[in-house]
Amino acid sequence: MFDIFKSMMKEEWRMHSSLFGHSGFALFPGFIFLFTFLVCLVLPVFREIVSDAGIALGMHYFFLLVGGMVGAFGLMGREFMNRRFGQASLIAYSSRTLPVSERVIFLNFLVKDVVYYFFLYILPFIAGFALAVKLVLPSAAGSFKFSLLTLTLFLSFMIGLSVVFFLSTVYAHSGKTVIAGLLLAFPVLVFASGNFNGETLYAHPGLAFYLAPSETRYLLAPAFLILVPSALSLIFLKVDYPQVQKSFSNSFSGLSSRLGSYRYASFVAKDFLDLKRSEGGLGKIIFSFLLPATLVWVLLSALGNVIPALDSLLLFSLVLGVLSSSMYNWLTEFDLFASYAFLPLKVSDVIKSKLDIYALLNVVPFVFLLGLGLRTEPYTLGPSLLVFLSISFYMVTVLVYLTGLYPSVNLYNGKTFALYALSIVPVLILNIVLSILGPYYLLADLALLPVAVYLLGRSFRKWDGVENPQF
């Protein structure tokens, strides 16, 4: 069993380093470190309005969210890899040829991902944070317990991961529409029931242990939340046997003719079917988008209660814009340009079709935000919608410019990731600062639009000019 694990680690490492060269991939955690460090340099300012416990709270929820997103994404990320490398994840498929059960393989797969994420994200994050605290807040260094923090942030990440993994297993087994309906009802419920208060937030299992490490019993809750859902998911794992041929009656033609003479009708129809027929179905949208968005809203609205200086709705619009831009990642998950290179199409045609679908999908968060704003803070609704739209648009253009049709692969390149973070993080920080000053300062985001339009034009030329030998 350990042999399988070792080979998987090697396979993953080779895959990434063959894409970007060893240094490109190895730089990735380096940049996570650097950026956490740089962002944390503003901690002294931040500590004026937020308590240390509040900072810990933010970090724990952030990692819970990251874990959840990784869990949701892991389900889809494989699609691309399968296509890019054929069925080249040989080991993952070897259960058909080796006397090893699917379950063992999958468990290995999961552990491998966790180990990778631990070294790629969590450890560099803590290191960056620790260094920044030591440098700019030497007096407070004692009040942050770094090794404990490493443990509890890791636990938060794992809780997010295993809960989403569990939900997806339930989803795979049960009547999908029923579950999708229930999941969809969750945001609506939160939406209807008003805000949670600060105390509920501090009950986060990892956080509770961080704040009171002497209470070992606090460890029980995270252990339970990680082990039980994972175990259940593994037991009830539903493996999509690739040797079974799947058939569908033709829904493509009907779909695309309904879109009339719209230029990218066939792509929209195809992408819809990709989403619907791939593992997880349309429920993926809920897992990877509505669920995290709801979680963020719960968190931010409570944070707004605790720290009056922060405007929950404005911050939420900002996060919603960031989350939206991740939709571009999974929109591009199913395609290789090699499938179209011999047709009268350019790379920019495919990108444009994706962007149209992206714009269409943005209607969902837009409406969500609109409803939320009307209910909670009608007076900041205008700036909030502006923040959401401009951040979502700006971020997706940066993503397109830097990564073209392959964001989920190219972002692992250290240099690309650095450029990405450099173009995004300052804008986000500026937005947070402006939102504290007052909602109408955020009209400044209008300036992002011409930048985005310019960048988009550059992107089309850039990617049409690049030959795609690898894909």
Binding site: E79, S247, N250, F252, F334, F342, P344, E467
Partner: protein, 253 residues
């Protein structure tokens, strides 16, 4: 239909195609022969405007490929070396997808015809990712001829097809050029060239070492294999490396 001069392309310090000049007239079935890695796919990608040459000029179907690569791909039917139809469309949906991209009307019947021709109508509702490689190759074949092009450019046809289907494809291609179509195929299988090509070019390490009409080759008493090996290498020494089995595979490098 195809006019190429001084065509070169390097990848790093590998000269994949090196100073190739050739021309293919209307109604010809031209075979570009060469062992693996000799530059056939690179040639085809340049002909169809998928990659840009380092040097040289190309006219295909009367279009300057460098100026208007999209127009070339509109006119020509292309079968790429690797079959990668989108995963989650069914075989039939994929053909309809291509037809829509090519802005065809009333394509349903044409698609039907291809399912019949290759005898895989029972697979038309199966997702492309679940099709066998052979079936996917049939699909790629159908895809290339949907718009009834006057010129077809095909990279390594037939490798995944069974002998019955190979026969069908060869007969189809011969019929196609008889009706004024033009075909450019690349292959490392001499058998195919011997059977169906009207003219051939032999490429080796990026250089075109021979071009000529099949009937002027003077093959009586010699076989194409021997001729090829003579051109391509020092026969005595190299022969051991080449597999010249019944299928006529000439090289596996």
């Amino acid at each position: 239909m195809i006019e190429v001069k001084g065509l070169s392309k390097s990848f790093g310090n590998v000269k994949a195609v090196d100073g190739v000049a050739l021309s293919v007239g209307k109604g010809e079935l031209f075979g570009l022969l060469g062992p693996n890695g000799s530059g056939k796919t690179t040639m085809i990608k340049m002909l169809t405007g998928q990659i840009k040459p380092g040097f040289g000029s190309l006219r295909v179907h009367g279009v300057d490929v460098l100026k208007d690569p999209l127009r070339v791909r509109e006119l020509v039917g292309i079968i790429p070396e690797q079959e990668t139809p989108p995963s989650f469309l069914t075989a039939e949906e994929y053909l309809h997808f291509v037809a829509k991209i090519r802005k065809l009307e009333r394509y349903e019947e044409t698609c039907e015809k291809w399912f019949d021709f290759f005898n895989f109508g029972d697979q038309k509702n199966v997702l492309c990712k679940d099709l066998s490689r052979g079936t996917r190759q049939k699909l790629m074949f159908a895809q290339a001829f949907l718009h009834e092009p006057e010129l077809a450019i095909i990279d390594e046809p037939l490798i995944n097809l069974d002998p019955v289907m190979q026969r069908k494809v060869k007969d189809f291609l011969r019929g196609y050029v008889k009706n004024d179509g033009t075909v450019f195929i690349s292959t490392h299988i001499l058998e195919i060239a011997r059977e169906i090509c009207t003219s051939i070019g032999i490429i080796y390490k990026g250089k075109l070492v021979y071009t000529g009409r099949m009937d002027e080759l003077g093959l009586e008493g010699r076989n194409l294999e021997g001729f090829f090996l003579e051109l391509v290498g020092q026969p005595g020494e190299k022969q051991a490396n080449y597999e010249t089995g019944i299928t006529g595979m000439i090289a596996r490098e």
